[in-house]
């Protein structure tokens, strides 16, 4: 069972029209090496699930956007990348705006075999339009459905050879939820260590959620 592969080989698992989940809050916790190599891979029509769509000037996922590979984005905050705003206005990008907690929970649900859930978040707002709602204990809740990405590209601090993962500080963010939700999970680890080096207590994502591991490095961008 060898999960460690080259970045190029890992990216070849992404096919035209796939839905991919990409970790990170802004650039922190984003697998920037995987995203960079995705830029060299000829796939189009991608739906991207990510809190943001990179930063301006083609940073992170912003680069993939400028290559016209993304047709739809599902996330909570796109205004920080003016390119994303421009693409929407030019009709080149469809956006599904989701409250950040709902985004995280839809991914968590996808990984946990939960088809959907009711939440108070967004009740009575524009983002609840055309969604089923019901009153529970006297309060209005909105029905949201799980997300099932084809591939997740995530970033970890350390991975052992089995694929057990630990994370650095706030670079954890969406990465564990995405790892669990995707059919194929590819992790970019700053360090790849021997089995046993990570203590059972420090493993945040157990190896059964991880399919492939590639070697990355620490980024200083945020």
């Amino acid at each position: 069972m060898n999960k460690i592969i080259s970045i190029k080989e890992a990216i070849s698992h992404i096919k035209n029209g796939n839905t991919i989940a990409v970790g990170g809050f802004g650039l922190v916790g984003c697998p920037l090496r995987l995203v960079e190599v995705l830029g060299e891979h000829p796939v189009y029509g991608l739906t991207v699930i990510s809190n943001n769509l990179g930063e301006p000037d083609g940073k992170g996922l912003g680069r993939i956007l400028l290559q016209n590979k993304i047709t739809k984005a599902i996330g909570s905050f796109f205004t920080s990348n003016i390119d994303a705003v421009r693409y929407v206005n030019e009709g080149k990008l469809e956006v599904e705006l989701v409250p950040q907690g709902t985004l995280a929970e839809r991914l968590r649900a996808g990984g946990a075999g939960i088809g959907g859930f009711y939440t108070k978040t967004s009740a009575g707002t524009l983002l609840a339009e055309n969604k089923e709602s019901r009153t529970i204990n006297g309060e209005e809740y909105v029905l949201e459905f799980a997300l099932y990405p084809d591939v997740a590209l995530i970033k970890a601090k350390k991975a052992d050879r089995y694929g057990n993962l630990s994370f650095s500080k706030t670079a954890r963010n969406f990465n564990p939820d995405m790892a669990k939700a995707a059919k194929i999970t590819i992790v970019e680890a700053e360090e790849i260590v021997e089995v046993g080096e990570l203590t059972p207590e420090e493993i945040v994502v157990p190896h059964l959620f991880v399919n492939y591991i590639v070697k990355g490095e620490k980024s200083n961008e945020f």
Partner: protein, 227 residues
């Protein structure tokens, strides 16, 4: 002391020892500067940290520790890191005692609008809807009127709302309003403001509390010493 600091200091007085507090971007961020050192207060940031510490020096900046405004922060002793779903379980599950947020508009029924302006691109919501729906107490700090002079404290929000009826306290540079049982109540008035002047810039209908007082700045001198 400028009016923004005044509002931040007023908001601090709502925070109790041991509270878990989430601060939004803008005036709420200033609240962190005035937290009393004799209280144990834990700042939560939705990107996955409970126990946010002060801004690091240039040498101490670690690109892996940021707050929800994507600015570098530090972690206090006793802090913890967690995933986004766990962070929002804290927010949506009612485990955050106080959320302090800015607003574009607040209505007399406790509605808040702080994420979208009609006619502009509606492409960012972040954690605002989760925080307003989930926090036990929602405090709004905002300037009383918009930069162009338009009133912000209204009968009904005209911008898309963030949540319905969930604001507990509204702090502006001129007044403090409490929301209770669907009513908006004027509790405090700034030194330089009169009831009739306030009425002119406040389309919202509100009740004047029988205990109406001056803007409560208890302990201000002490807090400013730390600043």
């Amino acid at each position: 002391m400028n009016f923004k600091q005044k509002m931040a200091i007023r908001a601090v007085q709502e925070i109790k020892n041991g509270n878990i507090v989430n601060l939004g971007i803008g005036i709420p961020t200033l609240v962190a500067d005035f937290l009393p050192k004799d209280k144990n207060i834990f700042l939560h940031t939705e990107n996955g940290l409970l126990g946010v510490g002060p801004t690091p020096s240039k040498e101490e900046v670690d690109s892996d520790i940021i707050n929800a405004g994507k600015l570098p922060v530090t972690a206090q002793e006793g802090a913890s890191y967690f995933s986004s779903s766990e962070s929002f379980a804290m927010i949506r599950g009612g485990h955050i005692d106080v959320a302090i947020l800015g607003a574009l508009q607040v209505a007399e029924n406790g509605d808040i609008a702080n994420w979208a302006i009609p006619g502009k691109d509606i492409l960012g919501v972040g954690g605002a809807m989760d925080l307003v729906a989930g926090a036990r107490k929602v405090i709004v700090t905002t300037q009383h009127c918009a930069k162009n002079g338009d009133p912000k404290i209204l009968r009904r929000c005209t911008f898309p709302i963030t949540a319905k009826n969930l604001v507990s306290l509204l702090i502006t540079e001129y007044a403090v309003f409490r929301f209770e049982n669907g009513k908006m109540i004027l509790e405090e008035l700034a030194e330089e403001m009169t009831e009739s002047e306030l009425k002119k810039i406040t389309p919202a209908e509100y009740i004047v509390s029988p205990n109406l007082s001056k803007y409560q700045m208890n302990g201000t001198e002490h807090l400013l010493e730390n600043y």
